[in-house]
Protein backbone atom coordinates (compact mmCIF):
# COMPACT_ATOMS: atom_id res chain seq x y z
CA UNK A 1 0.00 0.00 0.00
CA UNK A 2 2.80 2.33 0.86
CA UNK A 3 4.23 1.58 -2.52
CA UNK A 4 1.17 2.53 -4.45
CA UNK A 5 1.08 5.79 -2.55
CA UNK A 6 4.58 6.61 -3.55
CA UNK A 7 3.97 5.70 -7.11
CA UNK A 8 0.91 7.85 -7.24
CA UNK A 9 2.83 10.81 -6.09
CA UNK A 10 5.50 10.32 -8.64
CA UNK A 11 2.97 10.26 -11.41
CA UNK A 12 1.48 13.50 -10.34
CA UNK A 13 3.99 15.70 -8.71
CA UNK A 14 6.87 14.59 -6.63
CA UNK A 15 8.18 17.76 -5.11
CA UNK A 16 10.41 15.97 -2.70
CA UNK A 17 12.16 14.16 -5.55
CA UNK A 18 12.62 17.41 -7.42
CA UNK A 19 14.12 19.02 -4.36
CA UNK A 20 16.48 16.13 -3.87
CA UNK A 21 17.50 16.32 -7.49
CA UNK A 22 18.19 20.06 -7.29
CA UNK A 23 20.33 19.59 -4.27
CA UNK A 24 23.14 18.35 -6.46
CA UNK A 25 23.29 21.58 -8.44
CA UNK A 26 23.56 23.55 -5.27
CA UNK A 27 27.31 23.95 -5.31
CA UNK A 28 27.26 27.51 -6.68
CA UNK A 29 24.72 28.41 -4.08
CA UNK A 30 26.95 26.94 -1.42
CA UNK A 31 29.87 29.00 -2.62
CA UNK A 32 27.71 32.13 -2.61
CA UNK A 33 26.58 31.29 0.86
CA UNK A 34 30.15 30.99 2.04
CA UNK A 35 31.52 34.07 0.30
CA UNK A 36 28.67 36.49 0.94
CA UNK A 37 29.64 37.27 4.53
CA UNK A 38 33.17 38.17 3.48
CA UNK A 39 31.88 40.19 0.57
CA UNK A 40 29.56 42.15 2.84
CA UNK A 41 32.30 42.60 5.38
CA UNK A 42 34.36 44.06 2.56
CA UNK A 43 31.62 46.55 1.80
CA UNK A 44 31.26 47.41 5.45
CA UNK A 45 34.95 48.12 5.59
CA UNK A 46 34.55 50.95 3.08
CA UNK A 47 33.21 53.15 5.84
CA UNK A 48 36.29 52.40 7.87
CA UNK A 49 38.48 53.07 4.86
CA UNK A 50 36.74 56.41 4.49
CA UNK A 51 37.68 57.34 8.01
CA UNK A 52 41.19 56.10 7.51
CA UNK A 53 41.30 58.05 4.25
CA UNK A 54 40.22 61.22 5.99
CA UNK A 55 42.65 60.81 8.83
CA UNK A 56 45.48 59.85 6.52
CA UNK A 57 45.05 62.73 4.06
CA UNK A 58 44.65 65.22 6.84
CA UNK A 59 47.45 63.87 8.94
CA UNK A 60 50.16 63.55 6.31
CA UNK A 61 49.81 67.14 5.13
CA UNK A 62 49.32 68.39 8.65
CA UNK A 63 52.66 66.90 9.58
CA UNK A 64 54.26 68.79 6.71
CA UNK A 65 52.59 71.92 7.98
CA UNK A 66 54.00 71.50 11.44
CA UNK A 67 57.45 71.22 9.94
CA UNK A 68 57.04 74.75 8.61
CA UNK A 69 55.04 76.21 11.48
CA UNK A 70 55.72 74.94 14.99
CA UNK A 71 52.79 73.17 16.58
CA UNK A 72 52.78 75.49 19.53
CA UNK A 73 52.90 78.65 17.44
CA UNK A 74 49.98 77.45 15.43
CA UNK A 75 47.74 76.77 18.39
CA UNK A 76 48.69 79.86 20.36
CA UNK A 77 49.15 82.28 17.49
CA UNK A 78 46.70 85.14 17.45
CA UNK A 79 47.63 86.33 13.98
CA UNK A 80 46.54 84.60 10.85
CA UNK A 81 47.93 86.19 7.74
CA UNK A 82 48.26 83.38 5.24
CA UNK A 83 49.18 85.49 2.21
CA UNK A 84 51.92 87.94 1.51
CA UNK A 85 55.59 87.90 2.35
CA UNK A 86 55.31 87.90 6.11
CA UNK A 87 52.76 85.10 6.33
CA UNK A 88 51.79 84.10 9.85
CA UNK A 89 49.80 81.09 10.88
CA UNK A 90 48.00 81.28 14.20
CA UNK A 91 44.72 79.39 14.40
CA UNK A 92 43.26 81.34 17.31
CA UNK A 93 41.38 83.85 15.13
CA UNK A 94 39.66 80.93 13.39
CA UNK A 95 39.02 79.15 16.67
CA UNK A 96 37.39 82.21 18.21
CA UNK A 97 35.32 82.62 15.06
CA UNK A 98 34.22 79.00 15.21
CA UNK A 99 33.57 78.98 18.91
CA UNK A 100 31.67 82.27 18.93
CA UNK A 101 29.47 81.31 16.01
CA UNK A 102 28.78 77.97 17.66
CA UNK A 103 27.96 79.58 20.98
CA UNK A 104 25.56 81.97 19.32
CA UNK A 105 23.98 79.13 17.39
CA UNK A 106 23.36 77.02 20.47
CA UNK A 107 22.18 80.06 22.39
CA UNK A 108 19.42 80.23 19.81
CA UNK A 109 18.89 76.54 19.17
CA UNK A 110 18.96 75.15 22.68
CA UNK A 111 16.25 77.25 24.31
CA UNK A 112 13.99 77.32 21.29
CA UNK A 113 14.69 73.70 20.38
CA UNK A 114 14.12 72.49 23.90
CA UNK A 115 10.95 74.50 24.34
CA UNK A 116 9.73 73.17 21.02
CA UNK A 117 10.54 69.64 22.15
CA UNK A 118 8.65 70.20 25.39
CA UNK A 119 5.69 71.56 23.51
CA UNK A 120 5.65 68.71 21.03
CA UNK A 121 6.18 65.98 23.56
CA UNK A 122 4.18 67.24 26.52
CA UNK A 123 1.59 69.73 25.37
CA UNK A 124 0.76 69.31 21.70
CA UNK A 125 -2.10 67.11 20.63
CA UNK A 126 -1.29 64.37 18.17
CA UNK A 127 -2.85 66.47 15.50
CA UNK A 128 -0.67 69.52 16.07
CA UNK A 129 2.41 67.38 16.44
CA UNK A 130 1.71 65.71 13.12
CA UNK A 131 1.61 69.09 11.42
CA UNK A 132 4.40 70.84 13.28
CA UNK A 133 7.05 68.17 13.18
CA UNK A 134 7.28 67.81 9.41
CA UNK A 135 7.37 71.59 9.09
CA UNK A 136 10.33 71.70 11.44
CA UNK A 137 11.94 68.95 9.43
CA UNK A 138 11.62 71.10 6.33
CA UNK A 139 13.69 73.67 8.16
CA UNK A 140 16.39 71.08 8.66
CA UNK A 141 16.28 70.11 5.00
CA UNK A 142 16.84 73.56 3.52
CA UNK A 143 20.24 73.73 1.86
CA UNK A 144 22.71 75.72 3.88
CA UNK A 145 23.53 77.91 0.91
CA UNK A 146 19.97 79.22 1.10
CA UNK A 147 20.44 79.99 4.78
CA UNK A 148 23.70 81.72 4.00
CA UNK A 149 22.07 84.28 1.80
CA UNK A 150 19.15 84.56 4.14
CA UNK A 151 21.63 85.55 6.83
CA UNK A 152 23.51 87.96 4.63
CA UNK A 153 20.62 89.66 2.90
CA UNK A 154 17.90 89.53 5.51
CA UNK A 155 19.05 88.81 9.04
CA UNK A 156 22.09 91.09 9.00
CA UNK A 157 20.20 94.17 7.71
CA UNK A 158 17.42 93.39 10.17
CA UNK A 159 19.86 93.17 13.07
CA UNK A 160 21.57 96.35 11.97
CA UNK A 161 18.38 98.25 12.51
CA UNK A 162 18.69 97.29 16.19
CA UNK A 163 22.46 97.22 16.51
CA UNK A 164 23.87 100.03 14.36
CA UNK A 165 27.42 99.08 15.31
CA UNK A 166 27.03 95.70 13.64
CA UNK A 167 29.41 95.13 10.74
CA UNK A 168 27.76 94.17 7.45
CA UNK A 169 29.60 90.89 7.77
CA UNK A 170 29.72 89.66 11.31
CA UNK A 171 29.60 86.46 13.29
CA UNK A 172 26.33 87.24 15.03
CA UNK A 173 24.00 86.92 12.11
CA UNK A 174 25.31 83.63 10.71
CA UNK A 175 25.43 82.35 14.28
CA UNK A 176 21.75 83.07 14.71
CA UNK A 177 20.83 81.56 11.37
CA UNK A 178 22.90 78.47 12.12
CA UNK A 179 20.97 78.27 15.37
CA UNK A 180 17.71 78.35 13.46
CA UNK A 181 18.98 75.63 11.19
CA UNK A 182 19.79 73.30 14.09
CA UNK A 183 16.59 73.97 16.03
CA UNK A 184 14.93 70.96 14.39
CA UNK A 185 17.84 68.75 15.37
CA UNK A 186 17.66 69.75 19.02
CA UNK A 187 13.87 69.66 19.01
CA UNK A 188 13.53 66.32 17.35
CA UNK A 189 16.22 64.45 19.28
CA UNK A 190 15.14 65.95 22.60
CA UNK A 191 11.57 65.13 21.81
CA UNK A 192 12.53 61.54 21.12
CA UNK A 193 14.29 61.38 24.45
CA UNK A 194 11.33 62.89 26.26
CA UNK A 195 8.73 60.77 24.50
CA UNK A 196 10.62 57.67 25.45
CA UNK A 197 10.20 58.46 29.13
CA UNK A 198 7.46 56.02 30.07
CA UNK A 199 4.01 57.46 30.37
CA UNK A 200 3.71 55.93 33.80
CA UNK A 201 6.19 58.54 34.97
CA UNK A 202 3.92 61.34 33.81
CA UNK A 203 0.89 59.67 35.31
CA UNK A 204 2.69 59.23 38.59
CA UNK A 205 3.50 62.90 38.82
CA UNK A 206 0.16 64.15 37.56
CA UNK A 207 -1.60 61.93 40.06
CA UNK A 208 0.16 63.85 42.79
CA UNK A 209 -1.47 67.04 41.59
CA UNK A 210 1.47 68.33 39.60
CA UNK A 211 0.84 70.66 36.70
CA UNK A 212 2.24 69.76 33.30
CA UNK A 213 4.93 72.35 33.74
CA UNK A 214 6.09 70.71 36.96
CA UNK A 215 5.91 67.26 35.45
CA UNK A 216 7.99 68.40 32.53
CA UNK A 217 10.81 70.08 34.35
CA UNK A 218 10.96 68.01 37.49
CA UNK A 219 10.32 64.55 36.11
CA UNK A 220 10.47 64.28 32.34
CA UNK A 221 13.45 66.49 31.59
CA UNK A 222 15.60 65.00 34.37
CA UNK A 223 14.67 61.52 33.21
CA UNK A 224 15.48 62.33 29.61
CA UNK A 225 18.47 64.47 30.39
CA UNK A 226 21.12 62.33 28.77
CA UNK A 227 19.19 62.15 25.52
CA UNK A 228 18.65 65.88 25.65
CA UNK A 229 22.30 66.62 26.31
CA UNK A 230 23.30 64.26 23.54
CA UNK A 231 21.11 66.29 21.22
CA UNK A 232 22.86 69.45 22.34
CA UNK A 233 26.27 67.96 21.73
CA UNK A 234 25.31 66.77 18.28
CA UNK A 235 23.91 70.20 17.51
CA UNK A 236 27.16 71.79 18.63
CA UNK A 237 29.10 69.42 16.43
CA UNK A 238 26.88 70.35 13.52
CA UNK A 239 27.37 74.07 14.16
CA UNK A 240 31.13 73.67 14.32
CA UNK A 241 31.14 71.95 10.96
CA UNK A 242 28.70 74.26 9.20
CA UNK A 243 30.34 75.95 6.25
CA UNK A 244 28.31 77.88 3.73
CA UNK A 245 26.39 80.10 6.13
CA UNK A 246 29.55 81.47 7.71
CA UNK A 247 31.41 81.57 4.41
CA UNK A 248 28.81 83.89 3.02
CA UNK A 249 27.70 85.94 5.97
CA UNK A 250 30.65 86.31 8.29
CA UNK A 251 33.24 87.71 5.90
CA UNK A 252 36.83 86.60 5.82
CA UNK A 253 38.52 88.91 8.29
CA UNK A 254 41.03 86.95 10.26
CA UNK A 255 40.88 89.10 13.35
CA UNK A 256 41.45 87.75 16.82
CA UNK A 257 38.53 89.26 18.64
CA UNK A 258 35.60 88.36 20.81
CA UNK A 259 33.39 91.11 19.46
CA UNK A 260 30.51 89.30 17.80
CA UNK A 261 29.48 92.38 15.86
CA UNK A 262 32.67 92.10 13.84
CA UNK A 263 33.54 90.19 10.76
CA UNK A 264 35.54 87.06 11.52
CA UNK A 265 36.32 83.77 9.90
CA UNK A 266 35.64 80.23 11.06
CA UNK A 267 37.75 77.17 10.37
CA UNK A 268 35.29 75.94 7.76
CA UNK A 269 35.13 79.26 5.97
CA UNK A 270 38.92 79.38 5.91
CA UNK A 271 39.02 76.00 4.23
CA UNK A 272 36.60 77.19 1.57
CA UNK A 273 38.54 80.38 1.01
CA UNK A 274 41.85 78.65 0.63
CA UNK A 275 40.59 75.90 -1.63
CA UNK A 276 38.58 78.43 -3.63
CA UNK A 277 41.85 80.19 -4.32
CA UNK A 278 43.54 76.85 -4.86
CA UNK A 279 46.81 77.12 -3.08
CA UNK A 280 49.60 75.29 -4.84
CA UNK A 281 50.64 71.99 -3.34
CA UNK A 282 53.74 72.37 -1.29
CA UNK A 283 53.18 75.87 0.00
CA UNK A 284 52.64 76.51 3.68
CA UNK A 285 49.27 77.99 2.79
CA UNK A 286 48.29 74.70 1.20
CA UNK A 287 49.39 72.70 4.22
CA UNK A 288 47.61 75.10 6.56
CA UNK A 289 44.37 74.00 4.92
CA UNK A 290 44.95 70.48 6.18
CA UNK A 291 46.08 71.58 9.62
CA UNK A 292 42.89 73.57 10.03
CA UNK A 293 40.79 70.74 8.64
CA UNK A 294 42.48 68.31 11.01
CA UNK A 295 41.68 70.57 13.94
CA UNK A 296 38.10 70.81 12.78
CA UNK A 297 37.90 67.06 12.36
CA UNK A 298 39.21 66.43 15.85
CA UNK A 299 36.76 68.95 17.30
CA UNK A 300 33.73 67.29 15.73
CA UNK A 301 35.05 63.81 16.44
CA UNK A 302 35.35 64.58 20.12
CA UNK A 303 31.85 66.03 20.13
CA UNK A 304 30.45 62.94 18.45
CA UNK A 305 32.19 60.60 20.83
CA UNK A 306 30.82 62.55 23.76
CA UNK A 307 27.33 62.41 22.31
CA UNK A 308 27.59 58.67 21.77
CA UNK A 309 28.91 58.12 25.24
CA UNK A 310 26.09 60.10 26.77
CA UNK A 311 23.34 58.48 24.79
CA UNK A 312 24.73 55.01 25.47
CA UNK A 313 24.56 55.72 29.15
CA UNK A 314 21.07 57.03 28.65
CA UNK A 315 19.89 53.77 27.14
CA UNK A 316 20.86 51.86 30.26
CA UNK A 317 18.80 54.00 32.55
CA UNK A 318 15.33 52.52 32.55
Amino acid sequence: MGRSNKKNREENLNIRAMIEKNKNSFSIATITEKTIPYFLLGIATISILTTIGIVFTLLSETISFFQAVPFWDFYTGTTLKPLGDDAQFGILPLLTGTILSTLIAIAVAIPIGLMTAVFLSEYASDHIRKVLKPILEILAGIPTIVYGFFAFTFVTPLLRSFIPALDPTNILSPGIVMGIMIIPMVASLSEDAMSSVPNSMREGALALGATKLEVTWKVIVPAAISGIIASFVLAISRAIGETMIVTIASGSTKAFTFDITQSMQTMTAYIVEVTGGEAAAGTTLYYSLYAVAMTLFVFTLVMNLIAQYISRKFREEY
Partner: protein
Protein backbone atom coordinates in the same frame (compact mmCIF):
# COMPACT_ATOMS: atom_id res chain seq x y z
CA UNK B 1 10.44 55.61 67.11
CA UNK B 2 8.68 53.67 64.42
CA UNK B 3 6.47 51.81 66.76
CA UNK B 4 5.53 54.96 68.48
CA UNK B 5 4.32 56.64 65.31
CA UNK B 6 2.46 53.57 64.20
CA UNK B 7 0.62 53.28 67.41
CA UNK B 8 -0.40 56.84 67.40
CA UNK B 9 -1.73 56.60 63.90
CA UNK B 10 -3.62 53.48 64.69
CA UNK B 11 -5.18 55.03 67.73
CA UNK B 12 -6.28 58.18 66.05
CA UNK B 13 -7.75 56.43 63.13
CA UNK B 14 -9.58 53.53 64.58
CA UNK B 15 -11.51 56.03 66.57
CA UNK B 16 -12.40 58.06 63.50
CA UNK B 17 -13.24 54.91 61.65
CA UNK B 18 -16.49 54.06 63.27
CA UNK B 19 -17.85 57.54 63.39
CA UNK B 20 -17.53 58.21 59.66
CA UNK B 21 -18.16 54.76 58.35
CA UNK B 22 -20.92 55.47 55.98
CA UNK B 23 -20.04 58.85 54.54
CA UNK B 24 -19.89 58.85 50.77
CA UNK B 25 -16.64 60.14 49.27
CA UNK B 26 -17.36 59.53 45.65
CA UNK B 27 -20.74 59.46 44.09
CA UNK B 28 -20.98 58.42 40.48
CA UNK B 29 -24.23 58.85 38.64
CA UNK B 30 -25.00 57.67 35.17
CA UNK B 31 -21.41 57.97 34.02
CA UNK B 32 -20.71 57.20 30.37
CA UNK B 33 -17.34 57.35 28.74
CA UNK B 34 -16.19 56.98 25.17
CA UNK B 35 -12.72 56.53 23.75
CA UNK B 36 -13.44 57.87 20.29
CA UNK B 37 -16.17 55.46 19.27
CA UNK B 38 -15.53 52.84 21.93
CA UNK B 39 -18.17 53.08 24.59
CA UNK B 40 -15.97 52.05 27.50
CA UNK B 41 -18.18 52.94 30.47
CA UNK B 42 -21.91 52.55 30.27
CA UNK B 43 -24.17 54.34 32.68
CA UNK B 44 -22.17 53.64 35.80
CA UNK B 45 -23.84 54.50 39.08
CA UNK B 46 -21.74 53.75 42.13
CA UNK B 47 -21.43 55.32 45.61
CA UNK B 48 -18.09 54.86 47.31
CA UNK B 49 -17.77 55.02 51.05
CA UNK B 50 -15.22 56.62 53.25
CA UNK B 51 -12.52 54.66 55.08
CA UNK B 52 -13.33 51.47 53.31
CA UNK B 53 -11.62 49.38 50.71
CA UNK B 54 -13.74 49.15 47.62
CA UNK B 55 -12.62 46.52 45.14
CA UNK B 56 -13.42 46.63 41.45
CA UNK B 57 -13.24 43.31 39.67
CA UNK B 58 -14.06 42.09 36.21
CA UNK B 59 -12.48 40.54 33.14
CA UNK B 60 -9.86 42.27 31.06
CA UNK B 61 -11.12 45.22 29.07
CA UNK B 62 -14.30 45.66 31.11
CA UNK B 63 -13.43 49.24 32.02
CA UNK B 64 -11.98 48.93 35.53
CA UNK B 65 -8.91 51.06 34.87
CA UNK B 66 -10.96 53.51 32.89
CA UNK B 67 -13.35 54.02 35.76
CA UNK B 68 -10.52 54.45 38.24
CA UNK B 69 -8.80 56.99 36.03
CA UNK B 70 -12.03 58.90 35.67
CA UNK B 71 -12.14 59.38 39.43
CA UNK B 72 -9.07 61.63 39.30
CA UNK B 73 -9.68 62.72 35.72
CA UNK B 74 -6.49 61.09 34.62
CA UNK B 75 -8.43 59.54 31.78
CA UNK B 76 -8.40 62.94 30.11
CA UNK B 77 -4.79 62.36 29.13
CA UNK B 78 -6.05 60.03 26.41
CA UNK B 79 -6.93 62.16 23.40
CA UNK B 80 -10.51 61.95 22.20
CA UNK B 81 -12.12 60.92 25.47
CA UNK B 82 -15.68 62.08 26.10
CA UNK B 83 -17.80 61.66 29.20
CA UNK B 84 -21.36 62.26 30.27
CA UNK B 85 -22.97 61.99 33.69
CA UNK B 86 -21.82 63.17 37.09
CA UNK B 87 -19.09 62.22 39.52
CA UNK B 88 -19.24 63.98 42.83
CA UNK B 89 -16.23 64.01 45.09
CA UNK B 90 -17.30 65.11 48.54
CA UNK B 91 -20.22 66.88 46.98
CA UNK B 92 -18.25 68.68 44.27
CA UNK B 93 -18.94 67.80 40.68
CA UNK B 94 -15.47 66.96 39.39
CA UNK B 95 -16.20 66.45 35.72
CA UNK B 96 -16.97 70.13 35.22
CA UNK B 97 -14.47 71.85 32.96
CA UNK B 98 -13.97 74.56 35.57
CA UNK B 99 -12.98 72.09 38.25
CA UNK B 100 -9.28 72.24 39.02
CA UNK B 101 -7.92 68.76 38.43
CA UNK B 102 -4.61 69.49 40.12
CA UNK B 103 -6.47 70.21 43.33
CA UNK B 104 -8.51 67.05 43.03
CA UNK B 105 -5.37 65.02 42.43
CA UNK B 106 -3.66 66.34 45.55
CA UNK B 107 -6.53 64.88 47.51
CA UNK B 108 -6.79 61.67 45.57
CA UNK B 109 -3.62 59.61 45.39
CA UNK B 110 -3.05 56.95 42.82
CA UNK B 111 -0.96 53.79 42.69
CA UNK B 112 -0.40 52.10 39.38
CA UNK B 113 -0.07 48.54 38.17
CA UNK B 114 3.58 48.82 37.32
CA UNK B 115 5.62 50.55 39.99
CA UNK B 116 6.55 53.92 38.51
CA UNK B 117 9.01 55.70 40.79
CA UNK B 118 10.68 58.73 39.24
CA UNK B 119 14.29 58.18 38.22
CA UNK B 120 15.43 60.16 41.23
CA UNK B 121 16.58 59.37 44.72
CA UNK B 122 14.15 57.73 47.11
CA UNK B 123 14.05 60.93 49.09
CA UNK B 124 13.24 63.07 46.08
CA UNK B 125 10.54 60.66 45.05
CA UNK B 126 8.72 61.09 48.28
CA UNK B 127 9.41 64.81 48.56
CA UNK B 128 8.20 65.45 45.02
CA UNK B 129 4.54 65.94 45.94
CA UNK B 130 5.09 68.20 48.96
CA UNK B 131 7.60 70.24 47.00
CA UNK B 132 5.33 70.98 44.10
CA UNK B 133 2.71 72.02 46.59
CA UNK B 134 5.03 74.61 47.98
CA UNK B 135 6.73 72.94 50.93
CA UNK B 136 10.39 73.88 50.73
CA UNK B 137 11.55 73.72 54.33
CA UNK B 138 14.17 71.00 54.51
CA UNK B 139 13.26 69.94 58.01
CA UNK B 140 9.59 69.59 57.28
CA UNK B 141 10.39 67.65 54.12
CA UNK B 142 12.61 65.30 56.09
CA UNK B 143 9.77 64.67 58.47
CA UNK B 144 7.28 64.10 55.70
CA UNK B 145 9.60 61.65 53.97
CA UNK B 146 10.11 59.66 57.11
CA UNK B 147 6.48 59.67 58.03
CA UNK B 148 5.39 58.57 54.57
CA UNK B 149 7.96 55.83 54.32
CA UNK B 150 6.94 54.59 57.74
CA UNK B 151 3.33 54.77 56.67
CA UNK B 152 4.14 52.53 53.73
CA UNK B 153 6.11 50.20 56.04
CA UNK B 154 9.30 50.53 54.06
CA UNK B 155 11.23 52.96 56.25
CA UNK B 156 13.45 50.35 57.79
CA UNK B 157 14.36 48.89 54.46
CA UNK B 158 15.44 52.15 52.88
CA UNK B 159 16.29 54.55 55.66
CA UNK B 160 20.02 54.16 55.04
CA UNK B 161 19.82 54.69 51.32
CA UNK B 162 17.46 57.62 50.91
CA UNK B 163 19.84 59.32 48.51
CA UNK B 164 20.05 56.33 46.23
CA UNK B 165 18.11 56.03 43.01
CA UNK B 166 14.73 54.40 43.52
CA UNK B 167 15.40 52.15 40.55
CA UNK B 168 17.86 50.21 42.64
CA UNK B 169 15.01 48.75 44.70
CA UNK B 170 13.11 45.53 44.04
CA UNK B 171 9.69 45.68 42.39
CA UNK B 172 7.83 45.24 45.64
CA UNK B 173 9.86 47.91 47.33
CA UNK B 174 9.35 50.24 44.41
CA UNK B 175 5.62 49.75 44.67
CA UNK B 176 5.68 50.61 48.35
CA UNK B 177 7.80 53.68 47.52
CA UNK B 178 5.04 54.69 45.14
CA UNK B 179 2.49 54.24 47.86
CA UNK B 180 4.64 56.28 50.24
CA UNK B 181 4.91 58.96 47.57
CA UNK B 182 1.14 59.04 47.56
CA UNK B 183 0.93 59.26 51.31
CA UNK B 184 3.32 62.19 51.37
CA UNK B 185 0.64 64.55 50.13
CA UNK B 186 -1.77 63.19 52.71
CA UNK B 187 -4.53 62.19 50.35
CA UNK B 188 -8.09 61.57 51.28
CA UNK B 189 -8.66 58.76 48.81
CA UNK B 190 -6.16 56.34 47.29
CA UNK B 191 -6.85 54.74 43.94
CA UNK B 192 -4.96 51.55 43.20
CA UNK B 193 -4.92 49.87 39.79
CA UNK B 194 -3.83 46.26 40.22
CA UNK B 195 -1.08 47.36 42.57
CA UNK B 196 0.24 43.84 43.08
CA UNK B 197 -0.16 42.26 39.68
CA UNK B 198 3.45 42.97 38.73
CA UNK B 199 4.78 41.69 42.03
CA UNK B 200 5.89 38.32 43.27
CA UNK B 201 3.79 36.58 45.97
CA UNK B 202 5.97 37.76 48.82
CA UNK B 203 5.86 41.42 47.82
CA UNK B 204 2.14 41.05 47.14
CA UNK B 205 1.61 39.94 50.70
CA UNK B 206 3.49 42.96 52.01
CA UNK B 207 1.44 45.35 49.91
CA UNK B 208 -1.81 43.66 50.93
CA UNK B 209 -0.86 44.00 54.55
CA UNK B 210 -0.11 47.63 53.97
CA UNK B 211 -3.49 48.22 52.35
CA UNK B 212 -5.24 46.72 55.29
CA UNK B 213 -3.46 49.10 57.56
CA UNK B 214 -4.03 52.09 55.32
CA UNK B 215 -7.75 51.66 55.20
CA UNK B 216 -7.98 52.85 58.75
CA UNK B 217 -6.77 56.21 57.49
CA UNK B 218 -7.82 56.48 53.90
CA UNK B 219 -10.61 55.56 51.55
CA UNK B 220 -9.19 53.06 49.10
CA UNK B 221 -10.48 51.98 45.73
CA UNK B 222 -8.61 49.05 44.31
CA UNK B 223 -8.84 47.36 40.93
CA UNK B 224 -7.78 43.76 40.96
CA UNK B 225 -7.75 40.67 38.79
CA UNK B 226 -7.28 38.49 41.75
CA UNK B 227 -10.57 37.37 43.28
CA UNK B 228 -8.91 36.09 46.40
CA UNK B 229 -7.29 39.44 46.90
CA UNK B 230 -10.60 41.24 46.56
CA UNK B 231 -12.20 38.82 48.99
CA UNK B 232 -9.36 39.16 51.46
CA UNK B 233 -8.90 42.89 51.65
CA UNK B 234 -12.02 44.72 50.51
CA UNK B 235 -15.17 45.80 52.25
CA UNK B 236 -17.23 46.39 49.17
CA UNK B 237 -16.85 44.89 45.71
CA UNK B 238 -18.12 46.06 42.35
CA UNK B 239 -18.21 43.63 39.46
CA UNK B 240 -17.75 45.25 36.04
CA UNK B 241 -18.51 43.63 32.72
CA UNK B 242 -18.30 45.25 29.31
CA UNK B 243 -18.28 48.71 30.83
CA UNK B 244 -21.29 48.13 33.06
CA UNK B 245 -21.60 47.57 36.79
CA UNK B 246 -23.23 44.18 37.02
CA UNK B 247 -23.26 43.91 40.75
CA UNK B 248 -22.14 46.01 43.69
CA UNK B 249 -22.35 44.81 47.26
CA UNK B 250 -20.54 44.04 50.48
CA UNK B 251 -17.66 41.83 49.62
CA UNK B 252 -18.73 38.95 51.83
CA UNK B 253 -22.14 39.08 50.37
CA UNK B 254 -21.05 39.32 46.75
CA UNK B 255 -18.66 36.43 46.97
CA UNK B 256 -20.95 34.18 48.92
CA UNK B 257 -24.31 34.87 47.29
CA UNK B 258 -23.90 36.69 44.00
CA UNK B 259 -27.22 37.81 42.64
CA UNK B 260 -26.28 37.91 39.01
CA UNK B 261 -25.50 34.78 37.06
CA UNK B 262 -22.58 36.52 35.28
CA UNK B 263 -21.02 37.50 38.59
CA UNK B 264 -21.22 33.93 39.73
CA UNK B 265 -19.69 32.69 36.50
CA UNK B 266 -16.88 35.14 36.89
CA UNK B 267 -16.01 34.54 40.51
CA UNK B 268 -16.13 30.81 40.06
CA UNK B 269 -13.64 31.23 37.21
CA UNK B 270 -15.89 30.19 34.40
CA UNK B 271 -14.61 33.05 32.24
CA UNK B 272 -12.18 35.98 32.32
Amino acid sequence: MQLHVDNRNANQLSSVDTSLDHNIVYDTEDLNLWYGNTHALKSITLPIYEKQVTAIIGPSGCGKSTYLKTLNRMVELVPGVRTSGVIKYRGQSILDRSFKVEELRTKVGMVFQKPNPFPKSIYDNIAYGPRIHGIKNKKILDEIVEKSLRGAYIWDEVKDRLKENAYGLSGGQQQRICIARCLAIEPDVILMDEPTSALDPKSTLKVEELIEKLKQDYSIIIVTHNMQQAARISDKTAFFLNGEVIEYADTNFLFSTPKDRRTEDYITGRFG
